[in-house]
């Protein structure tokens, strides 16, 4: 090892130590359940935030108080008691977690093994107390260096508030305002942390950015906030999540993700999400209410959302694009799987404002066992959007007889010089298809995987290579045993 990288590593290590120190410090300050202005001030204060941000949170809280939880989605869940949630629980001390993998739900370990996740990573994911994340730390450090060379900023949201307040002030809430919806308002009031990313003009980010490398403090996942700004002529590909189900104590998740693409900038945002599905009794399944939106603010800019959703008990998610800049492009590629008793209501919104703006929507819904899958898509073409074009394709695949698929496309076209195309299909894995595959010697499970992968091909193609392979594995594991 050369001395330079060694110092770097030690430095990284020191930072890590410091973080843990910080954690221990605040632990005694964990708040009891409940939400009011004092709670928000407490959070803001604990994070050492400037006054403008405290005020911003308080404003969001006031808006939230006046809002009602939306119930238009095609999902059912028991009422959520927002006063029963603790909005500032200090990151759990590692010692509170399981002491070893032996103490972790064996089903979870089985899944990790099927996904081929190495042991050390399994420990991190399952929240096992590990002494030092040595490997990942050094990876993270070299990673930071390479980004810094190009002037790319990639850090936690809290860090960005301290180091780059002007960028945060300018862009936070500019795509998803506090008043946007109930869950976004709640997030704006109480968000804990998240990621911030800025790509300077005419820069191609030298690597795929992934939260996976940015070691998150534990327990920030519940009200996460992400902001990505791609300045003029820049390019970034961002990967969210990981295929391994992460153990999580929080049932309710309400994240906000904002993307801003300036002139000629390109943002590719890919998500492969597999929340902890709960134990075999379904306990602990995650409710995922997330607001994701991108603004193609500059001319000829482009935002692509690609998502592979499995896992959570309830998914409420509509990654959207506001196509402001002339000739800008929005794309949405989605695979959503609902198996077991999962419910997914997901889709996208494409809002065309600029001239000759273009959007593409490819949605693949898979329902198995007793899963319910709903696609909800809106294409809005405003008067100013002359020459706008949209192409939508929504396909549903049913596996078995007890599941369901629902499609709700909404169109709102105010400009006659625009063009919209919509295609939809629902198909079922037929018994004749299964017979055909089995007659060739292929097992039932492999046959289903073949057909499902064929069904999802157009979306997988949009994912970075490695992610695509993982996504494929993930679907296979998720579908296992859900047939019949």
């Amino acid at each position: 090892m050369n001395p330079d990288s060694e110092t770097e590593m030690l430095k990284g290590f020191a930072e890590q130590e410091y973080k843990y120190g910080f954690v221990t410090n605040i632990e005694s300050d964990t708040l009891p359940p409940g939400l009011n202005e004092d709670v928000i001030k407490f959070i803001s204060n604990k994070k050492g935030e400037p006054k403008w941000l405290t005020d911003w949170r308080l404003k969001a809280y006031k808006i939230w108080l006046k809002m009602k939880e939306p119930h238009w989605a095609n999902i059912e869940y028991p009422p959520i008691d927002y006063q029963a949630i603790s909005y500032f629980s200090a990151p759990k001390n590692a010692a509170d977690g399981p002491k070893s993998l032996d103490e972790v739900d064996p089903e979870l370990i089985k899944t990790y093994n099927k996904l081929g996740i190495p042991l050390e990573e399994q420990e991190i994911l399952a929240g096992v107390a590990v002494d030092a994340v040595f490997d990942s730390m050094s990876v993270a450090t070299t990673f930071k260096d390479r980004l810094a060379e190009k002037g790319v900023i990639f850090c936690s949201f809290s860090e960005a508030v301290k180091e780059h307040p002007e960028l945060i002030k300018k862009y936070m809430g500019s795509v998803v305002p506090q008043s946007d919806n109930f869950f976004a308002a709640l997030n704006s009031a109480v968000f804990t942390d998240g990621s911030f990313c800025y790509i300077p003009p005419n820069t191609k980010c030298p690597m795929e950015l992934s939260t996976y490398f940015r070691i998150n403090e534990p327990n920030t996942g519940q009200f996460e906030r992400t902001l990505i700004v791609a300045d003029k002529g820049s390019y970034v590909s961002y990967l969210e999540g990981c295929t391994a189900p992460k153990r999580d104590e929080n049932q309710l998740h309400a994240a906000v993700v904002e993307l801003v693409a300036l002139d000629d900038a390109v943002i590719k945002y890919s998500t492969v999400q597999n929340w902890y599905p709960g134990d075999k009794n379904g306990k602990g399944g995650i409710y995922n209410f997330v607001t994701k939106r991108g603004a193609c603010r500059g001319k000829s800019s482009k935002i692509t959302w690609t998502q592979v959703e499995t896992g959570s008990a309830i998914t409420w998610k509509y990654p959207s694009c506001i196509l402001q800049g002339d000739n800008s492009t929005g794309e949405f590629y989605s695979v959503a799987l609902s198996a077991l008793k999962q419910q997914a209501d997901t889709g996208t919104k494409m809002i065309h404002l600029g001239k000759n703006t273009k959007s593409t929507i490819i949605s693949k819904g898979i329902s198995a066992a007793r899963g319910q899958n709903t696609y909800r898509g809106q294409v809005m073409i405003k008067k100013s959007a002359e020459g706008a074009r949209n192409y939508s394709q929504c396909d549903s695949l049913l596996i078995g007889n007890k599941c369901g698929a629902h499609t709700f496309p909404y169109l709102d076209v105010r400009n006659t010089k625009s063009h919209i195309e919509h295609e939809a299909s629902t198909s079922k894995i037929g018994e004749d298809q299964m017979f055909y595959c089995k007659q060739r010697g292929i097992s039932e499970e492999d046959a289903i995987n073949l057909i499902v992968n064929g069904f999802c091909k157009e979306v997988f193609r949009e994912l970075p290579m490695e992610f695509a392979v993982e996504a494929q594995r993930l679907l296979e594991v998720s579908l296992e045993g859900s047939v019949g």
Binding site: K438, G441, I451
Partner: protein, 250 residues
């Protein structure tokens, strides 16, 4: 190799096969002819293990094992191949990838090493030539949008790659043009080996000019009413089913 005794099969309460007896030895080629709806496809599907049919009586022995006790994949891996009368479409599933998965599933069953992509491509090269298969069919999803004749040719291509012990060909000739018929018949003939057997279901004597059968059986209303050599097929063509049925009764 295959021994069917007193086979009775019904579906949805309808008795379709009413006591079939048939023995097929390794190295033999049998043709089964008969009017529409007489139960030819039913017999082929039952041999392949289709679960919709109810076996009400009889037994089937295959390679000295009880065939009816085996599930569909197991039969396939033990060397039974059914070329479908109506091949099924698998949207989005690449044709070559599908066939490779099938071959590897069978190899795994037999305890052989699975083939990687390169080895597989080597293997199929000759078969593609043999069947004069259009390259683009290999890249497309299984049977999706294939013409009737292309589907049949693809079935025989799969057969050529999987090299089954017992091939059941259900009206593989229907829908083929004259040239294609010759090519496909060639492909089937290349399969005829001492250790293999073939059962061909067909309506037309024409195919049997290319693939000369050792035995011809006439299936009418769920029963084999007549068996003979290749000349029986010629006789059928000449006289039609009605007279053969009458002669059988007499």
């Amino acid at each position: 190799m295959l021994k069917i005794e007193n086979l009775h099969v019904s579906i949805g309460g309808n008795q379709i096969l009413k006591g079939i007896n048939l023995e097929v030895k390794a190295g033999e080629t049998h043709a089964i002819m008969g009017p529409n709806g007489s139960g030819k496809s039913t017999l082929a599907q039952v041999l392949a293990g289709h679960e919709e049919y109810e076996i009400t009586d009889g037994k089937i022995e295959y390679l000295s094992k009880d065939l009816l006790g085996m599930d569909i994949e197991e039969r396939a891996c033990e060397g039974i191949f059914l070329a479908f009368q109506y091949p099924v479409e698998l949207p989005g599933v690449n044709n070559t990838y599908f066939l490779k998965s099938a071959l590897n599933a069978q190899r795994k069953y037999r305890g052989e090493k699975e083939m990687d992509a390169m080895e597989f491509i080597d293997l199929i090269g000759d078969k593609i030539k043999l069947l004069n298969l259009n390259d683009s069919l290999l890249k497309r999803p299984v049977n999706e949008g294939f013409s009737g004749g292309e589907k049949k040719r693809n079935e025989i291509f799969q057969m050529a790659v999987l090299e089954p012990k017992l091939a059941l060909l259900d009206e593989t000739d229907s829908g083929l043009d004259i040239d294609a018929l010759r090519v496909v018949a060639n492909g089937i003939n290349s399969m005829r080996k001492e250790e293999n057997a073939i059962i061909i279901v067909t309506h037309y004597q024409r195919l049997l000019n290319y693939i000369v059968p050792d035995f011809v059986h006439v299936l009418v209303d769920g029963k084999i009413i007549n068996s003979g050599d290749k000349n029986l097929a010629l006789e059928l063509e000449e006289k039609g089913y009605d007279r053969i049925v009458e002669e059988a009764k007499a």
